[in-house]
Symmetry: C2
Subunit: 203 residues, 2 copies
Amino acid sequence: MSIRHGLLALLDQGPRYGYQLRTEFEARTGATWPLNVGQVYTTLGRLERDGLVVPDGEDEEGHLFYAVTEKGRAELRDWFETPVPRTSPPRDELAIKLAMAVTVPGVDVHAVVQAQRRHSVKALQDYTRLKARALAGEPAGSAADGRSDLAWLLVLDQLIFQTEAEVRWLDHCETRLANYRERPVAEPGPAATAPARGRRTRA
Amino acid sequence: MSIRHGLLALLDQGPRYGYQLRTEFEARTGATWPLNVGQVYTTLGRLERDGLVVPDGEDEEGHLFYAVTEKGRAELRDWFETPVPRTSPPRDELAIKLAMAVTVPGVDVHAVVQAQRRHSVKALQDYTRLKARALAGEPAGSAADGRSDLAWLLVLDQLIFQTEAEVRWLDHCETRLANYRERPVAEPGPAATAPARGRRTRA
DNA sequence: CGACACATGTAACACGTTACATGATTTG
DNA sequence: CAAATCATGTAACGTGTTACATGTGTCG
């Protein structure tokens, strides 16, 4: 639901047309989350279907504008007021992967962790470089407007904060695993997590 | 693709049936990401469609087992070897929301940030409490096996690390916003981010 | 007996995403 | 002229998710 609401928010500034929305969206989120143009149109269609936007005439150049409706504005207010649920957050693939790697025998957890760590550190460096460039470019050129520069900076910071936390967590996993290996739990029987049933028979 | 691979990983330990997979999945990820049972069956169907698992007979009690195929094992190896892409990470709703809140006029960014902060701190406390309970319960009762306890702990830690980073980022946003308000950029013209076109005409 | 956990499934939908088709306009 | 950008759209797919239907066994 992020793209839906993102586009809706952009439309709240005034009527826009599809291609323009993509441009403005990417100005704020940077190259991190490139937005396929086609998706703008599909999303606009669904927004219209749900009565959150309406077609709003066209340019002398043929640009097809959309405007947000009252219902759309209400939805938007609600979006801004309601926090993103961090209880029951979206499933994180890395967490699931590690949980499985730790559990399933025959997986080299250390290798998995280190491969991910290398990748994440690399990503972190990229972000830091991007940030330096953004900070250097802003006072001088500033072709884009200041508010979207700010947005882009905040998004970058979020990525950095999050990736740093990820790396720290990966290290944390390693130490926890080391501790665990020193004091292993008694080998459980097969299917110990599931209620022990009668031996299964092959068909 | 997380559930797909998660189930595949569980099946790699040996044939399982649907309901059992859900139980084992939740033993590892805890109550954080409750898994609708129906989804296990739909996912199993898709895994079978793609040749990653095959039906593997049934129990004397009628449990319908599935087993991972060689192709499935290959897919699984690949999953463990390949890091979760942290360049071009999944769109984060909170980041998008803040980027929009900062950009769109008439949004009380401070209110948005603080509402989210309260929510996240609350989530953090919940996680911490859960962790304390998990650590206390493990040495004594330990009804579940040690490895899935470990997995659950790691998942919890990840949630904690991530949420902490989120709170810190929110605070960081506030200070950045404060700095920005002190030294605001010159008011840009309308639609400054998009190429300035001729005045649009209403239809 | 009724409630509840166990167990298997299906139908339907939403959203995100990609690939493709098409055309106008601009620019090297 | 050719390539690139601007611009609008559609068809199709995949995963995740929910709601529902159905039946068995168990326990108070």
